[in-house]
């Protein structure tokens, strides 16, 4: 039986939906669709798209590789300063991206706290390189994986992990067969959001890694630059980003809503 929805809730929901959907619809209306294919296949756009995919996928993988163990530590281990650590690792979500970029420069730049050592002893320079763009994207997107995975760990009973250990499972085996499968839905959701965040990253990237075609100029940076000379082309290029993002988010919708939809 269909349930009647309370009117005030429906009105608020509709307003919320309009606020979020309207700018994207407006972009689609303004986009020069006649030039769309030409824009998409132009050399600058193709390079930027390829780089965007490379950077965002790598950043997502790194976010999972480092973020999941960190989330597990935050959920399971008891140690001094845990709540401070949790606040710190989630900070990039609320930090203005430009500030994140300045922080990355201060830490990993050529004259940064740690970057000077990296450069002198290992010959690794992150600023103005694709690796730097990946670091910037990872910095802003890993918290989303951590938040999702930690919620997952907290929602699952620690006794499953203990039982696996008691039954003689080695840590590696227990992680593969018990720990990870239990948080898989939350993890997939977190990874999808992290990927989306990495794909749209602008401020930290341009501040830390700069803006150079083929090296650090991802789609958002290319959109920004094209806005200076060709606003219509910029809109066409941003539609590429919108379409790719919607495609992936729709494909992952079951994961993101935790399998309820």
């Amino acid at each position: 039986m269909r349930r009647r929805l309370p009117l005030p809730i429906v009105v608020l929901a509709a307003l919320g939906a309009v606020l979020v959907v309207l700018p994207v619809v407006a972009l689609a209306v303004r986009a020069p669709w006649g030039r769309f294919l030409e824009t998409l296949t132009g050399p600058g756009a193709r390079t930027a798209l390829r780089l965007s995919l490379e950077v965002s996928v790598t950043a997502t993988v790194l976010s999972v590789v480092f973020g999941v163990p960190l989330a597990w530590v935050l959920a399971r281990a008891r140690f001094r300063g845990r709540s401070i650590l949790r606040a710190m690792v989630v900070l990039p979500v609320v930090l203005p991206p430009v500030v994140a970029g300045v922080g990355l420069l201060a830490a990993l730049g050529r004259r940064g706290l740690f970057g000077g050592w990296l450069d002198r002893t290992l010959g690794i320079q992150l600023t103005f390189t694709t690796a730097g763009a990946i670091v910037a994207a990872t910095f802003v997107s890993m918290p989303l994986v951590i938040l999702a995975a930690e919620a997952g760990f907290r929602a699952t009973d620690v006794r499953y992990e203990q039982a696996a250990a008691v039954l003689g499972a080695r840590p590696g085996y227990a992680w593969r067969r018990v720990v990870l499968p239990m948080v898989a839905p939350q993890l997939a959701a977190g990874a999808a959001l992290a990927w989306a965040r990495a794909l749209g990253e602008f401020g930290a990237t341009i501040t830390f890694a700069g803006n150079l075609q083929g090296r650090t100029q991802t789609i958002p940076l290319a959109v920004f630059q094209r806005l200076q000379t060709d606003p219509e082309g910029a809109i066409a290029l941003s539609m590429v980003l919108v379409i790719v993002s919607i495609a992936v988010l729709v494909a992952l919708r079951h994961r993101i809503t935790g399998g309820a939809a």
């Binding site: 730049g109 600023t127 103005f128 890694a209 803006n211 150079l212 650090t216 200076q228």
Partner: protein, 255 residues
């Protein structure tokens, strides 16, 4: 010292505002000025000085890349005055929604900046063709277009662009990247230097190689405060305005 002066000025202004509000109950006019980001220091000072002379006007600035600002004004038309770092950005606004009293008020030149220890030993434009990390303005941003124009005239555009590690959105971010020592050199306007001279080394570019950036200012058609906007224009073009602009590294308008 400078900070103290600003603080003192600010407190005087605040005191001035509250006393005038309490005294006569006179309403203040908000004058919105869109200005190129290279004008931040000069116009912030001019705005404060203008308010001293016109206590009933509050000058509100929106600083940004001239091209971005021009596009914003064309689509939103929320500015009373537009001060641009290039004629072409002003042309955009002149077309839509239109401008009045357009006049050139300053000129600017390009200069090479390096970190204070000049790690790549830059002494001239030609030095920039040796291997090093350089940042310049992005294409379409006035400082970036002027830079390319100048390099092209010297026949070294390709060689220098090979060393460019980033095309920056505005002069302030070029200065910031050079200041931080992340790159060996950058090209900005001379007006970007005095504010931050401490940790920067400037390498001047001789006039015969340099280009002249001319800054136009105008009242935007549709401004709700045309007389205040016109007064601000006259203030910038007047003696005091020119002295302040000069102290911030700008040259006089051409002609």
């Amino acid at each position: 010292m400078k900070r103290l002066a600003i603080l003192a000025l600010a407190s005087v202004l605040i005191a001035g505002c509250s006393s005038s509000a309490g005294g006569s109950g006179r309403s203040t006019t908000e004058l919105t000025v869109f200005a190129a980001s290279s004008l931040v220091a000069a116009f912030t000072q001019l705005g404060a000085d203008f308010q001293d002379v016109h206590p009933d006007v509050k000058v509100v600035f929106n600083f940004g890349s001239s091209t971005d600002l021009a596009n914003q004004i064309s689509s939103e038309g929320t500015a009373d005055v537009f001060a641009s770092a290039s004629g072409s950005a002003m042309d955009v606004v002149a077309k839509e929604p239109g401008v009045r009293d357009r006049a050139d008020f300053a000129t600017n030149h390009l200069v090479i900046i390096t970190p204070s220890d000049n790690p790549a030993h830059v002494v001239s434009l030609d030095s920039l063709t040796s291997p090093m990390a350089i940042v310049i303005g992005a294409e379409g941003v006035p400082v970036g277009d002027y830079t390319r124009q100048m390099l092209d005239a010297q026949g070294i555009e390709h060689a220098v662009l090979t060393n460019v590690v980033s095309n920056e959105p505005d002069d302030a971010s070029i200065v910031a990247k050079v200041q931080s020592g992340e790159v060996d050199a950058g090209i900005v306007y001379t007006s970007d230097i005095p504010i931050t001279a401490g940790d920067l080394h400037a390498v001047e570019i001789p006039a015969r190689f340099n280009i002249t950036a001319t800054y136009p200012i105008a009242v935007v058609t549709g401004s709700e405060h045309p007389s205040e906007a016109h007064a601000f224009l006259k203030f910038v073009l007047g003696d005091h305005g020119q002295v302040v602009l000069d102290s911030h590294g700008f040259g006089p308008p051409p002609g």
